[in-house]
């Protein structure tokens, strides 16, 4: 009689868990040195439930086919001049934001999972981290390859790697991930696998991918699908991690709660960039940031935190503030980028009349009252040939590194400022959430590389905007500034044979 066919669980066990071994001539605590540093107590690694059962041999087979399909589509995209099918060239700036802001984070995620996978004694956790490390490396590659198609035709893509470590707004995503990888292994997983991949990822990936689909960018949609098939594994890992830590020992609860509070707030602040992309950078909009936050955080997140309440976990601190701010952050951020368009490697613009109407319908309580007048004023200035560029440098929050643009909750016209003293110096924050994070670990955040401080200290190429822009490897008047006057726009009009509506003045000088 033939042997009984192994079911999926048995196959997984034989091909994965059974491949581990115990150390006989080294002590576990010498091999896994970071296991106790965070105060997390694990009593039994065998209680780790594998969130998915994929053997390594099957993994290679899957990923190989995904790659073949993706690159076939990218080739077809290139041959058919797919870049001409996007709604208009303003859309491409959303891709510049993605490539400069998000793709390098995929690479950091690769490094992070490789590092923490090494630290866990449980083989289930090791394998999950190893696969995710390889996934993330694949994601950054596919993103760079896909978006590089656009680099042949549009400005601003070419120096994304150099810029990620230098440009002022890119320090926001960079410092987020640096914070996570420099934490201990359990905090890293809580930060990235749970708070980011599970609680917030829909708000990062969904807007970019549906934005791409709505705006005719099939190349980006394809790498999105290719990545999403890995994403489901990452999300279930995030849930398993939290359950596992909480079930292992009651002492873990307050530590995990503190991490959830911290990483919810860190992630939420990072999503400010996505909010701005959704409301301002997509010529054809998918949904407003406000609607996305309601659906993906308030509803879906609400259900998750109701289930987590059984473990004694409460909703992340300051979540109520995110609900008030949903009416404001996208506008505040776009206004900031409009101010500093000469120092960012993508273009900004004022919304046209139809877009203003959309914004005012989606944000009935705030847009007309606080933001429309600014855009109308800026648009007028621009028409007079006096496009506004802010010649000063903004004050940054020490924790999230975003300029101080967030409001007080009881008066949305008032900017929120907080500060803390530490060893004789004063540190500034955009919110109570960011101040709490600093106050819990000041010795960590006093080391922050804050771009504005660095410019003033003379570490960024010089004292003038021109010097700094050069140090950023940006070509002034080409990669940056107003969309209306950009070569991107001139080229687009030429390729799509659109008559230029008005005489486009040459590039405007720095104000």
């Amino acid at each position: 009689m033939a042997a009984k066919k192994m079911n999926l669980r048995e196959k997984y066990t034989r091909m994965t868990r059974d491949l581990a071994w115990d150390f006989s001539y080294q002590r576990d605590e010498d091999v896994y040195k970071q296991m106790t540093m965070e105060g997390i107590k694990i009593e039994d690694w065998d209680k780790w439930e594998d969130p998915f059962r994929l053997t390594m041999d099957a993994y290679w087979k899957y990923q190989g086919e995904k790659e073949r399909k993706l690159y076939a589509i990218i080739d077809a995209f290139a041959q058919n001049n797919g870049h001409l099918n996007v709604t208009d060239a303003r859309y491409v700036n959303a891709l510049k934001l993605f490539l400069t802001g998000v793709s390098p984070l995929e690479y950091m995620a690769h490094r992070g999972f490789a590092m923490v996978g090494r630290q866990f004694p449980g083989v289930g956790a090791q394998v999950a981290c190893q696969m995710q490390a390889v996934d993330e490396l694949r994601h950054v590659q596919t993103q760079v390859h896909t978006i590089s198609q656009y680099n042949k035709y549009f400005n601003g893509f070419q120096e994304f790697r150099h810029q990620h470590d230098r440009v002022w707004y890119l320090s926001v995503p960079k410092s987020f991930f640096d914070d996570a990888v420099s934490a201990g292994p359990f905090e890293f997983l809580t930060a990235i696998s749970f708070s980011f991949e599970y609680v917030l990822t829909n708000l990062l990936f969904m807007p970019f991918m549906s934005g791409a689909a709505y705006n005719g960018d099939m190349a980006t949609v394809t790498f999105g699908f290719s990545a999403q098939s890995d994403e489901a594994r990452h999300m279930t890992l995030g849930l398993e991690v939290i359950k596992f830590i909480l079930e292992q020992h009651p002492d873990n609860l307050p530590i995990v709660q503190k991490w959830i509070d911290k990483w919810f707030w860190r992630g939420y602040r990072l999503l400010t960039l996505v909010a701005m992309m959704m409301d301002y950078m997509l010529p054809k909009r998918v949904m407003s940031w406000r609607e996305a936050w309601e659906m993906y955080f308030e509803q879906n997140g609400g259900a998750l935190f109701e289930d987590l309440a059984r473990y004694g976990i409460r909703k992340p601190k300051y979540w109520e503030q995110s609900v008030v701010e949903k009416d404001v952050i996208s506008h505040a951020a776009w206004g900031t980028f409009y101010n500093y368009a000469h120092a960012a490697p993508f273009h900004t613009w004022t919304p046209n009349d139809e877009e203003m109407e959309w914004l005012s319908a989606k944000y009935p309580d705030t847009f007309d009252k606080y933001f429309r007048p600014r855009y109308e004023h800026w648009a007028e200035q621009e028409k007079k040939g006096e496009r506004f560029y802010n010649p000063s440098l903004p004050m940054l929050c020490t924790t999230c590194q975003i300029p101080m643009v967030f409001p007080e909750l009881d008066d949305l016209a008032l900017t929120c400022y907080r500060s803390s003293e530490y060893e004789g110096d004063t540190y500034h924050f955009c919110s109570d959430g960011c101040k709490d994070i600093f106050d819990n670990e000041p010795e960590k955040y006093v080391q922050s590389w804050l771009p504005v401080h660095q410019i003033y200290q003379g570490n960024c190429g010089g004292a003038t905007v021109e010097d700094v822009v050069k140090w950023y490897h940006m070509e002034d008047g080409v990669d940056n500034r107003e969309y209306l006057h950009s070569p991107d726009r001139r080229n687009w009009d030429k390729w799509t044979k659109k008559a230029t509506e008005e005489e486009v003045p040459p590039k405007t000088a720095v104000g």
């Binding site: 079911n7 999926l8 899957y62 699908f225 999403q228 098939s229 279930t236 509803q299 879906n300 289930d307």
Partner: protein, 353 residues
Amino acid sequence: MSYEVTIEPLGETIEVEEEQTILDAALRAGIWLPHACCHGLCATCKVQVTDGEVELGDASPFALMDFERDEGKCLACCATPMSDLVIEADIDEDPDAEVHPVEDYRGTVVSIESVTPTVKRVILELDRDIAFQAGQYINLQLPKIDKSRAFSLANPPHDARRIELQIRHVPGGEATTYIHQTLAEGDVVDVAGPYGRFFVRTSDPGATLFLAGGTGLSSPKSMILDLLEKGDGRNITLIYGARNRSELYDRAFFEALAAEHANLRYVPALSEPDADDAWEGEIGFVHDVAKRLFDNDFRGHKAYLCGPPVMIDACITALIQGRLFERDIHMEKFLSAADAAQDSQRSPLFKSI
């Protein structure tokens, strides 16, 4: 037109309508299959078709690979059957689950007895023996009432001919009103079963804790009688909650049973005893009584919950806070049509509770 789909390794067979996805049918039949995005992108719900034909639906080429299509894999969230099927899903076989085929029976009402002002005990004599596992339920088809209704079996499996149902009158409920007001001794009704995956995990050495409320007593009664008849010596605790003394039933039966079996502890609890109940037993909701009795530490147990949704919900929280987790919590939710409509959005944090 519908097809029969057998889900391995459970060995359960479900009906799937034409155009209905396998995942949808399975979840509606109470069988959990892994799933996440529900529209063909994430591949969490991938299953192997071992027999029969499926239409793959809108499975993304990145979620269901070409080589997998060749191997007969499909995504349950978008695959629809084109014939009867056997599929193998990535779910755990439970060593304690018995598989009994669902069959149709004719049942004659032997007795109907009011055990409380709102609950009747109905004894049916079947036309032949029914094989089932303690904890399972049957569907009762009543004359002139559109859909069948589910009721747990309160008799142990060795009483295979005479089945006991405990039925609460749901105000305004068509079927339970019929049972309480019209059904009479000698009537004949249609019975189909057994159904459900609620049973005692005897292979686990842990002590057994039953938390029951209202007519949620029926399954635990069958399960406890079955354990005791088989000579299982583990500690068994039954905490049974009722509003007041008039709603508390089968008390004498369980007290006698506990007196006979040293390993059975029976704890009746009233949530709102009347002044003239002269109640000296436990007062409070089932989960609060359990917390007190176990000093908020449920480790080392297997818990079985049976009763209305609010009671189940409160018990799950109490157990988890007392460090008993999903893998050791088993339950049968009693949903009326109104409860089911209210079932709120859930996160994927828990699979089976």
